[in-house]
């Protein structure tokens, strides 16, 4: 199983409490950390709100809609990459005003470009745990970035 054996399933809650992210993923919901005082999202998660310094943060579901802010194709081997090359990696800017680094899957190569609208898709780690990825939407759908 070269495709998945390197995609280790990381332990949750080692950096900051992150269980809601993983529970959400198993239910097909993308959960990100939101600062309740400002209503702004932050990702990766932090031990406090980077906007205010308070710990008034909670995990909330996001739409999974956004656009590609930056994109590359990883072509060299590395840990967890066996069987996955070439691998499309993008910075996706969500309509909620936060960016994620994510793989773009199930998309025509010519559709993967900066500014392209994307929606949430689900990829899988070694043991089948769902992990968020994105796929491009047909042209004409919301183009939040450009």
């Amino acid at each position: 199983m070269a495709e998945t054996e390197g995609r280790l399933v990381p332990a949750a809650n080692r950096y900051v409490p992150s269980q809601p992210f993983w529970d959400g993923a198993r239910e097909g919901r993308l959960m990100l950390q939101m600062c309740l005082d400002t209503g702004r999202f932050q990702h990766p998660p932090h031990p406090l709100s980077v906007y205010t310094g308070s710990q008034n943060v909670e995990w909330r579901q996001v739409s999974g809609l956004g656009s590609i802010y930056a994109v590359t194709v990883v072509r060299v081997p590395g840990p967890g990459l066996a069987g996955r090359l070439p691998l499309i990696v993008a910075t996706v800017e969500l309509v909620e005003g936060v960016r994620l680094i994510a793989n773009i899957i199930d998309s025509a190569a010519e559709s993967v470009r900066i500014g392209a609208a994307v929606e949430l898709a689900w990829d899988h780690l070694g043991d089948g745990t769902p992990y968020p990825a994105f796929r491009t939407l047909a042209q004409g759908v919301a183009d939040a970035q450009d």
Partner: protein, 388 residues
């Protein structure tokens, strides 16, 4: 008027070697011995020590203390350089502050690393959960993303990046400390034909982890005079910033910390970009060099490609660039790499550039970069202006 009361009174640099089989401690011993030999300072006179953390010894939280032990030093001021490629210039700045404060008199700023022999660093934090699963373990993917965005906003000419690589390689050919493997000429065609590793990043845009060390001697100008040390360099300006735009998830990722610190170092030294005699920027990737040319005002944002195309960046040119080959063509000795650019600046200012001496050069702009954060550019930016 920039302060000139504390100086760099000596430097040492080992050769850059791939998979040497030797430790950071061993390389540090080599660098310190050379430094003592060149400057005539006795080991026991050293009472200040700055040690750059090493990838190869990343599991030891007391690395700096073990280093003092390894070298038989008894510092009354010990600094840990934890800002990666900014740690050499940052260590010199901190040593200057410590000397002015009276915490020590004679400081050594030491950077040694051997990641091509042993890699024992684990960044932890959010990476296992939120960055590694996507296949973004190493810097290339992040720099591929950065380059794609830069290209989208401004246009990125591969030939400009190629010129940086080719120019620096030509300089490495004249640097006996450069990695042997890189001591052969490189052409633009070689660059353009080199394989993409994270589009549009090519393999010849990148550094290769190696082993090596460097060391700098810092003391008051008065102390140097009293000891008959004639060659000194004055660090007349230093600035650094960590986590620039860190609390803005929608920041323009082509906006680096250098935009914040460039005006500070120029103002402090009383210089302008046009007055800079040579540029020795931290060069983990060619795009970082191009973006720094813009951030320091050698050209406007987005005009880096045209500027590189139109400017002679050779050691005899109008803006000599990384005259020892930089890390891209001399090899990157892990986190000791920031000292590679700094050592070349000091060497040139001492008039010891040999076959690559910049004629009549009186100052240098040296920079550092540390760590590649999530989806932005780099985590730490540092800049130092040195003058003679």
């Amino acid at each position: 008027m920039a302060r000139t009361d504390v100086v760099i009174a000596g430097y040492a640099e080992t050769r850059v070697v791939y998979q040497s089989g030797r430790s950071a401690y061993d390389f540090a011993g080599l660098a310190l011995s050379e430094l003592l030999g060149k400057t005539g300072i006795a080991k026991d006179e050293i009472d200040g020590l700055s040690v750059t953390l090493a990838l190869s010894e990343g599991s030891n939280p007391f690395f700096a203390v073990y280093m003092a032990d390894a070298l038989g030093l008894t510092p009354t001021w010990l600094n840990v350089g934890g800002i990666g490629g900014c740690s050499a210039a940052g260590g010199v700045a901190r040593a200057m502050w410590a000397i002015r404060e009276g915490a020590c008199r004679i400081a050594v700023v030491l950077s040694a690393d051997a990641p091509s022999t042993a890699f024992r660093a684990n960044y932890g934090a959010y990476r296992p959960e939120f960055q590694d699963p996507q296949g973004v373990q190493g810097p290339p993917a992040t720099f591929g993303l950065l380059m794609s965005r830069y290209d989208h906003q401004y246009g990125l000419d591969p030939r400009a990046l190629g010129k940086i690589a080719v120019t620096q390689r030509a300089h490495a050919l004249r640097n006996p400390n450069a990695l042997d493997k890189f001591r052969k000429p490189l052409t633009m065609d070689d660059y353009l034909a080199s394989r993409p590793i994270a589009d549009p990043l090519r393999v010849l845009d990148c550094v290769m982890y190696c082993d090596g060390a460097n060391a700098f001697l810092v003391m008051s100008a008065e102390e140097a005079r009293a000891r008959g040390i004639e060659k000194v360099a004055h660090p007349t300006a230093y600035a650094e910033v960590t986590n620039h735009n860190g609390a803005d998830p929608l920041a323009d990722i082509t906006d680096s910390g250098f935009y914040r610190i460039a005006p500070k170092v120029f103002a402090k030294a009383g210089l302008t970009p046009a007055g800079i005699g040579m540029f020795q920027p931290y060069d983990d990737f060619t795009i970082a060099v191009l973006m720094q040319l813009e951030a320091f005002g050698f050209c406007a944002p987005g005009e880096g490609s045209a500027f590189v195309r139109d400017t002679d960046l050779s050691f005899t040119g109008t803006l000599p660039l990384n005259t020892g080959g930089g890390q891209i063509s001399a090899g990157q000795p892990g986190l000791a790499s920031g000292g590679l650019n700094l050592a070349e600046a000091v060497r040139q200012l001492f008039g010891e550039g040999g076959e690559r001496q910049v004629p009549g050069v009186r100052n240098a702009l040296v920079t550092g970069i540390g760590v590649i954060p999530y989806g932005r550019n780099w985590g730490c930016s540092a800049a130092m202006i040195l003058e003679v």
